[in-house]
């Protein structure tokens, strides 16, 4: 089916992107908190193939930067010393996938540090921080979505399956959560939690907060599906045979929700990554020195940075390919779902 191909194509594309971020240690030449105090606010280095004398080099190289006299942050290329890039170099140690210690990096230069996307105020490589920040932001999005979906699934299933007062109460609460503008709610929840937490705790805090705000929508969708699935013939038959509620839920009802859940996941993940970015940007998320796409952008709030150091803006665009991937995934999933049209039949009967 055409839809399947589209779906898998998007999935592969996303997989590659995520893979790069996952192996951030390998793709990034330096660690995310490595400061180089002699090179604050370096502009991105250009990779050359042709040097000042017009010679072509097979191996690309960069020029090291020299501080212009009398200034603090005006640099110029030191054209005298080309520094060739090497590939698969060994550098600072990291853990691939958090497990395997390794020292291998995709590229690096011999003497100078390579700043593909420039450096920030402490001389940290923005490119490396981008990759590691992606780990944090994307993981926050994933876990937040997971949390929201699990919560939504359980609540929606209970509401849909048992109906009655449980349904009413749960749905009313869900409505409440949906009524409030979600970002405001997110902030309010964050406000009630302690400000001064370590990076790891902050991370889980964000996930918890996002999940606590975002369960309502999946819950309602799941509930709709469960409502319809509950009345299907084969389910009734199974119940007639004496199957327990749990069995029914597990084997017949819940699998019907899978397509809804998948679609929701594809929609929610980018949304929650954005939520984490927003929180971190405003200082309420992951604290320094742990990078996240949000707090990589936070010093753009200072006028001087906004005006002088344009490369600090680039992390904002890092998420674009991911959004694109998720968008494609979501739309291909929705098209696929349309082909099945489960819900339409089921919702004809209302209790």
């Amino acid at each position: 089916m055409k839809n399947w191909h589209a779906f898998t194509r998007w999935l592969i594309a996303l997989g590659v992107l995520h893979g790069i971020v996952l192996c951030a240690g390998f793709f990034a030449p330096y660690g995310p908190s490595e400061q180089d105090r002699k090179s604050p606010y370096l502009p991105p280095m250009r990779v050359h193939f042709v040097d000042g004398q017009g010679h072509f080099h097979l191996r690309p190289f960069v020029y090291s930067f020299r501080l212009r006299d009398g200034s603090f942050d005006q640099y110029e290329e030191d054209a005298a010393k080309p520094d060739p890039l090497r590939f698969f170099v060994s550098g600072w140690r990291y853990r691939l996938f958090g497990l395997l210690p390794s020292g291998l990096h995709l590229f690096g230069a011999e003497t100078t540090r390579v700043y593909l996307l420039g450096s920030d105020g402490y001389g940290r490589d923005q490119f490396s921080r981008l990759l590691f920040g992606g780990q944090v932001s994307l993981l926050a999005g994933f876990l937040g979505t997971g949390f929201a979906l699990v919560a939504g699934l359980s609540i929606g299933a209970v509401a849909g399956y048992y109906g009655g007062w449980r349904d009413d109460v749960l749905m009313r609460v869900a409505e409440l959560f949906l009524a409030l503008p979600w970002l405001y709610l997110l902030f309010a929840l964050r406000a009630f939690l302690p400000l001064a937490v370590g990076p790891l705790q902050a991370f889980f805090l964000i996930i918890a907060v996002i999940g606590a705000v975002g369960w309502a929508r999946p819950a309602r969708l799941v509930r709709a599906v469960v409502l319809s699935a509950k009345e299907r013939d084969f389910v009734r038959a199974a119940r007639g045979f004496g199957a327990t509620d749990i069995y029914l839920l597990r084997r017949h009802v819940l699998p019907e929700t899978s397509s809804v859940l998948l679609t929701q996941a594809a929609i929610l993940i980018p949304q929650y990554v954005m939520a984490e970015m927003t929180l971190s940007f405003l200082g309420l998320g992951v604290p320094e020195p742990v990078p996240s796409w949000g707090n990589l952008l936070s010093n753009l709030q200072q006028y001087s940075v906004l005006v002088s150091y344009w490369w600090m803006y680039l992390p904002a665009l890092a998420i674009v390919p991911f959004f694109l991937g998720y968008l494609g995934l979501a739309s291909s999933l929705q098209e696929r779902g349309e082909a099945y049209k489960i819900e339409r039949r089921g919702l004809g009967r209302l209790t």
Partner: protein, 599 residues
């Protein structure tokens, strides 16, 4: 010989006229108007002569809360009040020495306990009423009244007793101190003289705190400063106009100030200040951060940026050395054990990369400091203090001596542990609105990571920060900065004294918690009453030595004073003491021909 009748009559006429004239002269109104016309004693200020007229626009970060010096606590209110009030003796911000102001001369008695001040004659308040010794007496009565709770009261308690003042005649007053005061006449700087004719009634009714608000000051208040209140638009701006009775003139006899109007614009933050200056809406800018200064320096169209050199601000890291309350957790107690260990603090001080702080937080426009006396203070610094270069080895050696050890983690990173094997972790608070200090905290965090300490930086809004540090005392460490308002050690007295409110690591102690704090208390109190500069310096040097040894505050860096003004602003000479740019506001003038201050 018989005098002719005509001559006799004319003689009596003359005599009666003469008598009438004398009586007439004696009439108080006539007499005083003659006084008014002839006897006003203006202070002639040396310096460049300027043109009269024009308007100066200053962007203020925030809004002043009040124009009443008795209740003004925030810096914005004080900044505005400074141009509306005058004091008896003033410290010249450029020379850092005292000058006569409202008092044209003063004498200190040989025993150092009596200060006799002679007021300038013929001076009037901004509403036209004359200034006399009665106003001075009233002013100090109000300042010292315990029910008024004036912030100035503490400044006037010398030797444990408040200063008393008595009137000698219409122009002379004598201040009596309980103990000799090394500060001398500097103590009068900034103490605004209040108008008795306006404030006596509210004072007697106990309503002093309610007058002098921004909305009502125009009618309720009169000052002796170069400007008086004209208009206030809430949330937008404050307009001051020239005080026509100001008592200073230039060397040619033209009455100051030159400017017709002084406008304060309210902007939310430092970046907005920069935007206003850049777009030409404001004419001067001060208290700039180094980054904004660089941005503005790069463009320099129509304005000039000045680096006035090192100032008096000192930034430091300090630890929570308060005595733990009953509710303190065991974790807090454990952390405080580390903090109390002198070698721990010394190790931290050795590990901090001050040079990087100056370079990255101040873009090189600053100086590394190892003591409280910043380089802008030329006379009082202890030159013999050690300025050790950064040395991680020495830091590690100190930690080892103190019983700390390192454990190696699986990834090759080492964690510092105390003698019980607990990893050393703590958080550093910093103000969320101050980017420089946030940078310092982040740099320190990284430095301490090299020692194996896990440090977190927690930005908090400034008021909450202050509350945590001075009231609830719930914090581990904090990075803060203080800008002394005067070069004299007296201005930092609340930091030195263990009973002081800004003795930040353990404020407002009932009695000194450690012997070295007690020693510092003693030294500071002695230098307060010492009479000569040499005596005071010796004592102050020793106090600085102790501080440098015990390191309750780990001093980091001091920024230069950065300011800028449009090219059309004349007499612009930023000083390193507050108010940096407006200290000579009466002499500032506009060079261009246009009346309007904006571009």
């Amino acid at each position: 010989m018989r005098i002719s009748r005509a001559k006799f009559q004319s003689f009596w006429m003359l005599l009666s006229l003469l008598l009438l004239f004398v009586v007439f002269l004696g009439h108080p109104a006539i007499a005083s108007s003659q006084q008014r016309d002839t006897k006003e004693e203006l202070l002639a200020l040396p310096g460049e002569l300027g043109r009269s007229g024009g308007r100066l626009v200053v962007a203020l970060r925030g809004e002043p809360k009040t124009l009443n010096p008795l209740i003004a606590a925030d810096s914005r209110s004080r900044e505005v009040i400074a141009v509306m009030q005058a004091d008896l003796v003033h410290i010249n911000r450029a020379t850092q020495l005292t000058e006569p102001a409202l008092a044209k001369s003063w004498k200190i008695s040989p025993d150092g306990l009596q200060y006799t001040l002679v007021l300038r004659q013929g001076i009037k308040f901004s509403d036209g009423q004359p200034l006399g010794a009665d106003d001075v007496i009233f002013t100090f009565q109000v300042y010292l009244d315990e029910n008024v709770h004036a912030p100035q009261r503490d400044l006037l308690i010398v030797g444990g007793k408040p200063i008393t003042v008595r009137k000698v005649d219409g122009q002379t007053v004598v201040f009596q101190l309980a103990k000799t005061y090394g500060v001398g006449e500097r103590l009068f700087d900034g103490l605004a003289i209040l108008p008795k004719h306006l404030l006596e009634k509210p004072y007697q009714e106990g309503k002093l705190a309610q007058i002098g608000t921004l909305e009502t000051a125009a009618k309720q208040w009169a000052g002796l400063g170069p400007f008086r209140m004209k208009e206030y638009v809430a949330g937008q701006r404050l307009i001051l106009e020239r005080n026509p009775y100001y008592w200073k003139a230039d060397t040619q006899g033209n009455r100051l100030p030159y400017l017709d109007e002084l406008v304060f614009l309210f902007v939310p933050n430092a970046d907005a200040q920069v935007l206003k200056f850049e777009s030409g809406e404001s004419d001067v800018i001060s208290q700039l951060g180094a980054e904004n200064f660089s941005v503005l320096s790069r463009q320099q169209k129509g304005y000039v940026m000045t680096d006035a050199g090192p100032g008096l601000e000192y930034n430091f890291l300090f630890f929570n050395l308060n005595a733990p309350g009953e509710k303190a957790s065991s974790e807090m107690r454990r952390k405080q054990e580390w903090f109390r260990e002198v070698k721990f603090r010394q190790a931290v001080s050795n590990a901090v990369d001050r040079e990087a702080i100056v370079r990255l937080a101040y873009q090189g426009r600053g100086t590394a400091i190892w003591g409280l006396v910043a380089p802008g203070n030329r006379r009082w610094g202890n030159e013999k203090l050690a300025h050790p270069a950064r040395s991680l080895d020495r830091a590690r050696a100190l930690l080892r001596e103190a019983g700390f050890s390192w454990s190696n983690g699986p990834d090759g990173e080492s964690t510092l542990q105390d003698a019980q094997g607990k990893p050393v972790e703590f958080s550093i608070l910093t103000s969320s609105s101050n980017a420089d200090r946030a940078k310092m905290a982040a740099l320190i965090q990284d430095d301490l990571k090299q020692l194996g300490m896990r440090v977190q930086v927690v930005p908090l809004e400034f008021r909450s920060l202050l509350d945590r540090v001075t009231q609830s005392k719930e914090y581990d460490a904090c990075v803060m900065g203080i800008a002394s308002f005067d070069a004299d050690p007296n201005s930092d007295i609340n930091v030195w004294l263990s009973s002081g409110g800004t003795h930040l690591w353990n404020p407002s102690q009932a009695y000194p918690a450690t012997p070295w704090e007690a020693e510092i208390d003693r030294l500071i109190e002695e230098q307060m009453s010492a009479r000569t500069f040499e005596q005071r310096k010796k004592l102050y040097d020793r106090a600085q030595e102790i501080l440098s040894e015990k390191q309750p505050m780990i001093f980091l860096a001091s920024p230069d004073i950065l300011a800028g003004a449009k090219n059309s602003v004349g007499n612009f000479h930023p000083a390193v003491l507050e108010p940096y740019v407006l200290w000579n506001v009466e002499q500032l003038y506009r060079k261009s021909a246009t009346e309007n201050g904006t571009r």
